[in-house]
Symmetry: D2
Subunit: 282 residues, 4 copies
């Protein structure tokens, strides 16, 4: 379907995901063929969560044929999509954006011009990478506290009134982790992809980013261990598995008499110590 | 000065820091001598930012002499202290807390019982470690975006309306980094200490915490490189130095014609490539 | 049993481990009771793989009662123990060592004086931590090469003639990984303990050591995932599991017609891409 | 210059590096123009240290014009080049290699067929990445030991007779670090490039490689801090700077009376502790 305004390639389709019907959604059509069927003068708007280097390559190839390109990932989730209240992060030049702005405004409440082609993708990837950082690091901290005898609900109350708070600690952990609900709203596999893109942006730009790189590795591990269908917050369960503790467990136990925190791993016994002398590889 | 309520050791002193006069502040007295002058029945309340293992050791020794111990680090900053509106995180048993609660209520608005001795220290350390994670990871992301041509103010606007937001992105970066103000309100050296404590809590509890451990290392490096007087947010400047970019620079440049993003490092030139053949250590 | 030379506490016992009978082995006796039964003038020699901070604490307490302490972990493995050809790394003062040297020489071929109390333990821990670094990093590299179509035996041939070689690449990988033998000679749990000690030495000394700290975390994860009985080289199998590849697999496949390297994970399909638009948490 | 055997593009040039005259050296000519002047039937042999993804792209483009491609990085250093005793790691198909083998044998003592196009580059990058891992991790360990009072020469003696040894500990540290010679034989900037390539191979192959990724970041930091001319072993000096210690310092001090190990950083003083209460950002 082409919009009359600017030959914008989009699809006012009604995709069904998770049983929900949604409309007013822009997706990119026929990307695989490199825009083979598009006429010169078309503007291709990529609303997926792509990587900037590919976006720049695609834009350069399309430009040879007179086709303009914008990367325009969106935020706002399912609710925003249904209400036409998404935020669009646009990478590309202003003149091209002007041609498709009316089409974007059908579903976007806010249109942010981020920079050159790829800038929209880069910004979305970095935002999601920070989400990943917060989910994982908060899980590490709460798992350690849980084992040290600090209830996770108490810890979150304090953190959320303090300097260590984040969207993850304020919303995801109370609603999804402490409740053990872990609804599947955004796949871990997709977050893994986004963190990887952010890590690649940093490397491509030669910005040492040890934390983003480590986070990329940890989420790839989590994806392997938890599978393609896991929700992104389920990464917390891998941290719990490695820690041998369930975040929030002592809060539940607190309602029972003589509750005690998760016992620590038993110390290596004397036999193991003696063995060490014999086994050592030094 | 001893409180009449419970032999609480505290000091209603008037410390002057940063030129401000403050009262109604509890600090621990004569810790170095192991509470040598304290009578049995005293409660020692440690309001500093200590480490749980030491707290437990101290508590055990004091208990031999009939002295009770609570760790009770506070939050709320200078303003909270002046207004008697601090939050106190208490580690120790409820009965002991009951004895000193009236004294604590003189300066605390909220008293949170966290768990056994050390729990207050552990919780405070983890909160501060998450702050450190957020400051550093947000700096990495914004530095990469800056080099990719995305203005930091635009990036923060999007992130702060999205899933990647944290206290650091919502408050510290707009107020202190984009403005280049970097006021000295909380020393990097102290945050380094706190992250180290949180990392030790995780290790002691046998919780694999690669992100907290890495953050501990990075802040120790930052402390070495930036000195004992640097503010904790100045860690961002080390990320910038390593990245060869100033976060927010393109926002300033945007007001000039023909602004361009920070140039990437030049590629290794052909000579260097040829050299590689000769130099290689393989 | 006390040696006549210097009241050295040791046990000329015959421990049976892995079905082998061994003698001439020094182990520390009755450590748990803090040397309660030892007379003043005794020298306590700790030949286990301990941590320096504990060693210093123990030494200080023993000194109050006139008992000297040396940490003296050994290397050389089972064969060295059987042949009386171990290397002993001694922490403690020279005068104390002089008193027990004859006893140590019964089983040690080489006695190295490392520094003050704890120095022997520190050196042994660092050596073992480097072993752990080499095992894990070589596994990462070979797993990546395997998936890129480079046979592990070819890769090891080149690496072992080049600058990237280590004891791990020269001995452990050819003998234990490529053969899939994975004999159980030194437990992963003990290596995890040693890496943790090395990481703590670095932190205690305020030496930023991001690689040692990360290695400590990875081996703790491996211990959790692989269990208390796994051999230290089995950590390679966790790297393989995360990578979705078996190191050496293409070497085996090479003997069959039309061998192909391990296929990469399938790319996220178009449906997943479309989903991304709906699911995204930004 | 074209070889008569197989239209191999090479240059029998006499490059002068480090004041040495060398001949019999194959380098790639006119890469920048994509082999514009080459005839169909030519084989392009890339002996530099490149990245596999680029190699595959180049090979695909050249193939369209009937030009074959091999990646063939070499090892053996300056001495090997002078003596015609290099090892060549070849990526590409056997038939193509057969055509250029005589030309390669002029300077190569050993020709290793590694796998498909890019395999030679991948293997060389992984070898060099392991070198980087060993240099950095050994520096961390020795810096910690130095501060703990263990002389680096003693530590290296033990490690090099034990399981933690590597090419770095056996050759580079004794010859270049303990002597403080730090000769400039292979630039840090080039090693940084190689580690980055290895890290990208792992990511492209979806192999979680936290240690290689971290090493890539650390060497990029080191390159920024130490400059384009620094030797790769000078990375040790950055570890020393962060640690506040010189590896080998106590060995030198040992020749003087009353030598003592490098003092630890002073503990935070009481004033700083008290300050913490006021400054804290929680």
């Amino acid at each position: 379907v082409e919009s009359s305004e600017a030959n914008l390639r989009w699809a006012n389709n009604s995709l069904t995901t998770n049983g929900a019907m949604r409309s007013r959604q822009v997706v990119v059509v026929s990307f695989v063929d490199g825009g083979a069927g598009m006429a010169a003068g078309t503007v291709l708007v990529d609303c997926t969560s792509g990587d900037p280097a590919s976006s720049r390559r695609i834009a350069a190839r399309l430009a040879e044929r007179g086709i303009a390109f914008l990367d325009a990932p969106v935020s706002g989730g399912v609710v925003g999509a249904e209400q036409g209240a998404l935020t669009v992060m646009v990478g590309g030049d202003e003149a091209t954006l002007a041609r498709v702005r009316p089409a974007l405004e059908r579903f976007a409440k806010k249109i942010v011009t981020c920079g050159p082609v790829g800038a929209g993708h880069a910004l979305k990837a970095v935002n999601n990478a920070l989400l990943a950082v917060h989910v994982w690091s908060t899980a590490e901290g709460l798992a350690a506290l849980e084992r040290a005898g600090v209830r996770a609900d108490v810890a979150l109350d304090v953190i959320n009134a303090s300097s260590g708070r984040s969207n993850a600690s304020m919303n995801l952990f109370p609603e999804r982790v402490l409740t053990r609900a872990f609804p599947r709203t955004f796949r871990l596999a997709l977050l893994d992809k986004d963190v990887g893109i952010a890590a690649e942006v940093a490397r491509e730009q030669r910005v040492p980013a040890p934390m983003l790189q480590l986070t990329a590795e940890l989420f790839t591990v989590a994806r392997r261990e938890l599978g393609e269908l896991a929700d992104h917050v389920e990464a917390v369960q891998l941290v719990e598995r490695w820690a041998g503790v369930t975040i929030g467990a002592s809060a539940i136990a607190a309602s029972m008499p003589a509750a005690s925190p998760e016992p620590a791993l038993p110390p290596l016994d004397a036999a193991a110590q003696a063995d060490a002398t014999l086994e050592q590889p030094l």
